[in-house]
Assembly symmetry: C3
Homo-oligomer: 362 residues x 3
């Protein structure tokens, strides 16, 4: 329960009307009841707002809140920024009780800060260290010698492998796997796949062979303010650590391969997969279902549209799309021509006839 | 153990021969032993059936069961419908014992119907309600205030987040995650990715910024007769609930983003990913590895071929394919021309020479 | 702790210098300290090696180890083979303690070989059999009647369904799901999706219908020396078993559908999805994010580039790429022409004008 004034102060936003009104939860403009905060940051919500029962709303700047029938209003110049503030304030969480649940299995050598909460049936290994204010959800496993900073928040069923190190304010959604072994195998002699990659198409005469496993001796190293989505996976490095830079966020079902390093403040959207030994710069955004081949680099500030398959190095600042990914505007131009392809083919047929016809004396 | 007569009655199918014969399990025609029910719903299985030891089989209509050497037969006009009936009858399940396993951790305020089974090491939160006849598998976590209808069947390691509501006859495969937080972040000022989306290719001069988190205050709301595949993820809505309509089925490793709503009786096949705030109609089929961009709609009855990346609204009834997805027949026509592209390019070169040649006086 | 001599013997490699030196861990050439084994199998690492503090290194054949300032060296003709040996030797593992953790829930009818280790909070069902030397990680669930061979190594949160059978030396990464139910549904009458597949684009006039479930009576059958990646899923067969051949390795977030059979020594890279009833030969390599439509075959030794969507049968030995996948060299040729498409379209426009112009008397 917060007053309008408390919410406005949290957002650093201006407010008007009865600032002592109390808010229970946020709601869409048409669903809001008298104790809700209606979220109506654009004039397009004005009608829905009038149709609902809201007495308080967050509005676009300069909105005429009284004409909208409200008793109080907060004004938000950048709507999604206001959403960040309001939702952070009103989040009811998942209900992990304070303290250590008696069913959790915690190695006596683990060092948990005094106020750490651990949910039912979590497993915490030898010499693990967990910083102040952290919440470890039910069913999580944290492997030996792993280190988590302050304010970690793990939902349920999260795996943190042995020797993984993580900074402050880490968030992991259910089923995130940090520190699985890398996918790294070798055949005794050169394999068909190696030949095909080298020649771009010829498997050569490699004989059938079995795969030998290269173990992962490295771990995963994660900066501050990182969030990992549900059922996403980050593999251990082979010798050095795989690394996720501070401020980087991974959506659900994202995979980051062994040895790969991302910079700071990147977004990797749902189902994106990054192979091993990739270097990703800062502020890179990979849309949903992007794929990145191994052993390349992606420069700072690159933005890749959804579904892009990135098969070669990408210079900083480039906006790309496609399979294989190229500059987005080139991709769009090619794509438009492609849709005219059947007509183009007919034109060429016609031209061939026209060009061969003019000289009937041949 | 069922008699031929019991199976035929369950299927509502005609049968012939010794209807009192008892069946232990179903088998492929060539593998079937004397106590098995051979599944041979098409004449192409006749030889394999004769080669096996089956005494009872499900056959195509009007099959001459005696000539096939059988003692009894059931006749199936639509084979896969018969498969639904037979496999439902003979499924041996996963063996969760009746009752509550003593190792499960159940909040005293949770309300479970009298005949609910809970497997070992499951965690059930405060005020959770679970309907009659439900089976909660080992290692599942059900968050506070979640509601499951009657006849729920959860395999192991399933996550149900706080405040999720689910109808009757829900099925969740291992590792399904319902109610992870949505992937929603905002930068203080306009970001490069926002610019690139608006201009379709130009990142503009946005400076590097960090991401602020928009929390998910909504939950997930699921209708009746829904099934969610192994390791699939459905995220909470931001304000309103994410919604899965009755009768909709998700395959493994499928992702449904925050705020998205699917209609009834949809199929989302393996690895398909739907972004946030998408409206999907009824009876929509998305093949494997489809991707859907955020904030679009997909009309009733749309069918998308495997691998489609859907980047704009799709009207009802359309059959689509490709990246970006377009009408399947246009895609096929473009694709066929594409394969002739290298020859087309050579033709154009030739034409250019032919057209420039005729006038040697230039 | 191993001596240089022990490591060289394990690798079957030649060594020189002080073979009694002891090694704590492996390191990259620039990071190595005096007790590390620097991995510098190519001359390109020579500078980094000189800049580090390594006294022992694995080097390329004929390297002048003394000139590099080393006290001892091991020589590796095929670097990644040496990596397999060295990393296997130095892997510190995840620290599951020997014996059965008291918090594990094991059915009294399960038969575990005497030296099997079981981590905290694992669940092992009725009549399960587990071979000698196996390690079952924390939070794993093994369903009734499942069989694991000798030397199994399961990380945490792994699901093994009822009736699954697995050979020797099996490795499963966190969250792997073996034996989920197949994704198999049928409508009472022919559905729009069936029509669209048959006609390649026409949904016909099928009415909206609900889906009936076909249960999975089969299980999963896995050979020897198989590894399954984090959060990957392999579904049960409908009647017969889904099968993974010996020596085959699956990366993270890979899906294998019901009834599908892979041969021996295949690699399925990250995010690859194989539909149901696919027959995959031996020594097949599917790059990252490959998709395979149902009911086709892929011959021995096929190599598919990352992102390929395989929509029809592929003969043995072929190297393929694209959506839909075709021979890689054809794909590359088409792709190159595609990039010239906008220019080609302009050329054709010019030609049309040129061809219509020559005859001004029309």
């Amino acid at each position: 329960m917060f007053t309008v004034q408390q919410i406005a102060e949290t957002l650093g936003a201006e407010a008007a009307g009865d600032l002592s009104l109390e808010i229970q939860r946020a709601a869409e403009p048409g669903d809001a009841t008298g104790s809700d905060l209606a979220l109506a940051m654009s004039p397009k919500y004005a009608d829905a707002l009038s149709g609902g029962q809201a007495r308080v709303a967050i509005l676009w700047p300069d909105a005429d809140w009284q004409a909208l029938g409200l008793s109080a209003a907060i004004f938000a110049p950048r709507p999604r920024m206001a959403m960040a503030g309001v939702t952070g304030l009103l989040d009811k969480g998942q209900g992990v009780a304070p303290g250590i649940h008696p069913s959790a299995v915690i190695d006596p050598s683990a060092e948990l800060a005094g106020d750490v909460s651990v949910g039912p049936l979590a497993v915490i290994g030898a010499r693990v260290r967990i910083g102040a204010g952290s919440v470890i959800g039910p069913q999580c496993t944290i492997g030996m010698d792993a280190v988590l900073g302050e304010g970690a928040y793990l939902r349920d069923h999260v795996s943190i492998g042995a020797r993984v190190t993580i900074g402050d304010r880490f968030i992991a959604q259910p089923g995130a796997r940090i520190g699985a072994d890398g996918f790294s195998f070798v055949t005794p002699e050169v394999s068909a796949a190696e030949n095909a990659r080298k020649t771009m198409g010829d498997a050569g005469d490699a004989r059938a062979q079995s795969w030998l496993r290269i173990h992962s001796l490295g771990a995963v190293e994660i900066g501050d303010d990182v969030e990992i989505g549900a059922n996403s996976t980050i593999d251990n490095g082979t010798i050095r650590n795989t690394r996720i830079g501070s401020g980087t966020k991974l959506d659900n079902l994202v995979h980051v391969g062994h040895n790969t390093r991302t910079g700071t403040d990147c977004l990797l959207c749902g189902h994106t997969g990054v192979s091993g030994s990739v270097e990703i710069g800062n502020n890179v955004v990979l849309g949903g279902m992007c794929g990145v081949v191994d052993n390349i680099f992606i420069g700072d500030g690159v933005v890749a549209g959804g579904g892009s398959k990135i098969l070669s190095n990408v210079p900083a600042g480039r906006v790309i799309m496609g399979y294989p990914a190229i500059k987005m505007d080139s991709h769009t131009e090619i794509y438009k021509t492609q849709r005219r392809l059947p007509r183009l083919a007919r034109d060429v047929e016609m031209l061939k006839k026209a060009v061969s016809k003019p000289d009937p004396s041949d």
